[in-house]
């Protein structure tokens, strides 16, 4: 068959069903109720965004060194600028800050290396991060070796202390959490009940009472000649508290592994620790990573509580700076800065955890 007639030109879709107008119609203005909601939403947005932008950017003061440089009615970011070193390093001596910088650089490099899936040598980097890095950063931060002057822990503070508390609490909690989770699933009644009581105790009390306990009761529990540093006391409290939450995340991961896996390993004659270490935990840990990241986020936010027992983490040092008589009346700027810092860290971590969840959403989900 031969078609010798010419086809009619293809016409573009009507302008009401493609492009921006169609999108607006389907997503914002379909029906009277939706239109009202959209208008209310736009009004809320207007109420929130316009004053915020004016305060934070248009009417703000950015440059200067003293309070007198803040002459406009908007935000006074000069205050943050003037205090930035303190907010990041606490009262760390300024000539020693390079040491903290090295630790920061190593920390972020290691985290980045472990977080980006494409980079090689994950295992060696992880071993370095868990074994060599803590020792190295302790030597660098605390000093006392290799002619480095000692910096006592009460001078540590700011973002550095927040990251330190969160990381040490996390790394310390992971092994305890694994042991507790395995114990809770054990067949031995005494081991099981011990683990249940331990986990439920720490999960049942607020972190602040744990920190009070660590700072008030721990000195009573130890021989009087033993004097534990305040930072170490806070770390012990945080780690024990966190390990209980970690144990529950790990238990959840262990429960997701089909029973056949362990039975197959037992059929091959593997011992308990081989079954756990070679078969169950590697599979379970992979699935637990999002949960672990989520507990890390909550720990990261919870580290702010240490200011109540007198440590100067990021929030603590901001709060202290707000009480400075030369800079009174800038609490909004201080809190917005601290909130922004915390938000950046927590938001990127939660996005990473969502990404992992999608990536690991393979085999086991049925």
């Amino acid at each position: 068959m031969i078609h010798n007639q010419t086809m009619i030109e293809q016409r573009p879709a009507p302008s009401s069903s493609v492009g921006a107008i169609a999108w607006l119609r389907t997503n914002l203005f379909n029906g009277p109720i939706n239109t009202i909601f959209t208008l209310i939403g736009l009004y809320i947005l207007y109420l929130l965004v316009v004053p915020t932008v004016q305060w934070a950017f248009i009417n703000a003061d950015w440059v200067g060194t003293t309070r007198d440089d803040c002459s406009r009615e908007g935000a006074c970011w000069v205050f943050i600028n003037a205090r930035l070193t303190q907010f990041i390093y606490g009262l760390y001596p300024s000539e020693e800050i390079w040491r903290a910088n090295i630790v920061f650089a190593m920390f972020f490099t290691l985290i980045g290396w472990l977080a980006i899936p494409k980079l090689p040598f994950k295992r060696w980097v992880a071993i370095f991060a868990l074994v060599v890095f803590p020792v190295l950063s302790f030597i660098l931060l605390y000093g006392g070796y290799f002619d480095l002057p000692q910096v006592p822990t009460h001078r540590w503070g700011g973002l550095m202390l927040t990251l330190l508390l969160a990381t040490v609490g996390m790394v310390g909690a992971l092994p305890i959490g694994i042991v507790l989770a395995l114990g809770r699933r054990s067949n031995m009644p005494i081991v099981k009940s011990f683990c249940v009581v331990f986990i439920e105790f720490w999960r049942g009390v607020p972190l602040i009472t744990v920190l009070f306990m660590a700072s008030v009761m721990l000195p009573l529990f130890l021989p009087s000649e033993m004097n534990v540093d305040r930072l170490v006391r806070a770390l012990i409290g945080l780690t024990l508290f966190q390990s209980a939450y970690m144990a529950e995340v790990i238990r959840g991961g262990l429960q997701a592994i089909p029973k056949g896996q362990e039975e197959a390993a037992a059929a091959l004659g593997m011992t308990y620790w081989k079954r756990m270490g070679l078969i169950i935990l590697p599979q379970a840990l992979k699935m637990m990573i999002p949960g672990i990241v989520n507990t890390f986020i909550s720990l990261f936010k919870d580290t702010t509580l240490v200011m109540i027992i007198g440590l100067f983490d990021l929030l603590g040092i901001v709060q202290a700076a707000l009480a400075d008589s030369r800079w009174l009346g800038f609490s909004l700027e201080g809190y917005v800065f601290a909130a922004f810092m915390f938000w950046i860290f927590c938001f990127s971590m939660s996005r990473y955890s969502q990404y992992l969840e999608r990536k690991l959403h393979t085999g086991h989900k049925r």
Partner: protein
């Protein structure tokens, strides 16, 4: 098959470290021994430390006079009251902020969670922005923000923000009119109780009737009208036996009415807004967890839209929502202990703070405080287990 040279002769028992039951027994005995040794070590140290500091143990201090005032108490309290009474004042204040926080967080959380799923792009994005903002900022920072940056920046009593000559907001707090109940008021709570019992009876009867005849009556609407309408009717009939005491500016401060201290407001706002962002996510995931097939199947049975929601979607979504929701409630109550940072007189602030500092009875005070929170968590987890057992899917 060759016999290994070191194989055991038949009939001989394996050594005890190869016997799983014996190994478990030994391991558990070791664990108990370790725990007991640890406890002995701690108790010994505590006794040494306490005797060197001259502190006597025991709960006798609870009947001593406290000697400090508390800004907000739900029961009678003065500085002449005992430490035991400060404990109850603190506990009630914790429960007050916890209870009101749970209500507010649930309301905001459900609204935002449903808005997150709205087909309206702008509303969904606004809800998402709310969730992502408040979830990722530490609670303590939010409490400080509301307390120091918002409520502390309010005008003084003379320049209060007034809402209709009845509600005033200034740097010292929120002033509300206080209802004063007159003689005939006792009837209203009685009517309320009667209305509730009648509604329960009605719902049970309606259910039986539906099972027997298949006919439905709008029992929930009728009971709603009963519970709210009947007391209102009685109130109108008895001539509204309530007068309102208005707050009035006298000198530098307001007198009369109810005063809500700014510490309470800051804590309540921060707790509700923070927890609501988590509840919103729980609600969203709970609703999304119900597969679309359920809705379609219900529609195929020609159930009307409101019944599809009430009989099919919501009961299934609640099964997913309630367990994490209760743990959020628990978190909220535990987080209310952050009150101590801004001086709201909750349990941790007045008891584990002031009382502990004055008496030095660290062990007793911390143990009592922890016991309160542990009891609350145990009660909630008991409820959760009961609920889970009740709604668990019965699978084949």
């Amino acid at each position: 098959m060759s016999v290994r040279p070191n194989a055991r002769p038949v009939g001989q028992k394996p050594p005890f470290w190869r016997d799983r039951a014996k190994r478990a027994l030994i391991f558990q005995c070791l664990l108990i021994a370790a725990v007991i040794a640890f406890l002995f070590y701690i108790v010994g140290n505590v006794q040494d430390n306490l005797s060197s500091r001259g502190i006597t143990t025991g709960f006798g201090f609870l009947s001593n006079t406290a000697g400090f005032g508390i800004v907000q108490s739900l029961i009678d309290y003065s500085s002449q009251s005992t430490y035991g009474r400060t404990f109850f004042v603190g506990l009630l204040n914790t429960l007050l902020v916890g209870g009101l926080g749970v209500i507010a967080a649930t309301l905001i959380g459900f609204i935002v969670g449903i808005a997150r799923l709205s087909p309206n792009w702008l509303i969904a994005k606004l809800a998402a922005a709310y969730i992502e903002t408040f979830r990722n900022i530490p609670l303590l920072l939010q409490i400080f923000f509301w307390y120091f940056a918002v409520l502390r920046a309010l005008p003084s009593a003379r320049e209060s923000l007034a809402f209709g000559e009845a509600v005033f907001l200034n740097v010292r707090g929120l002033y509300l009119p206080e209802p004063l109940f007159e003689s005939g008021f006792g009837l209203i709570p009685v009517t309320f109780v009667v209305a509730i019992s009648a509604s329960i009876a009605l719902v049970i009867w309606a259910k039986r009737r539906q099972e027997a005849t298949g006919q439905r009556i709008p029992a929930y609407w009728i009971s709603f009208a009963l519970i709210f309408g009947l007391p209102l009717l009685v109130m109108l009939v008895t001539g509204v036996p309530i007068t309102w005491e208005m707050p009035e500016l006298r000198g530098f401060n307001f007198r009369g009415g109810i005063t809500v201290i700014p510490e309470f407001l800051a804590l309540w706002f921060a707790l509700s807004i923070y927890t609501a962002s988590f509840i919103a996510e729980i609600v969203r995931s709970g609703i999304q967890a119900i597969s679309h097939g359920q809705t379609e199947a219900a529609q195929a049975l020609s159930l009307p839209r409101n019944l599809v929601l009430r009989l099919v979607v919501i009961p299934q979504a609640l099964r997913v929502i309630i367990p994490p929701l209760t743990s959020q409630y628990l978190n909220l109550i535990k987080n209310s202990s952050l009150a101590t940072a801004i001086g709201y007189p909750d349990l941790v602030s007045v008891f584990a703070g002031t009382t502990l500092n004055q008496t030095g009875q660290a062990i007793e005070v911390i143990a009592m405080t922890m016991a309160v929170y542990l009891t609350i968590s145990l009660l909630v987890s008991m409820f959760m287990n009961w609920f889970n057992a009740r709604v668990a899917l019965v699978e084949r």
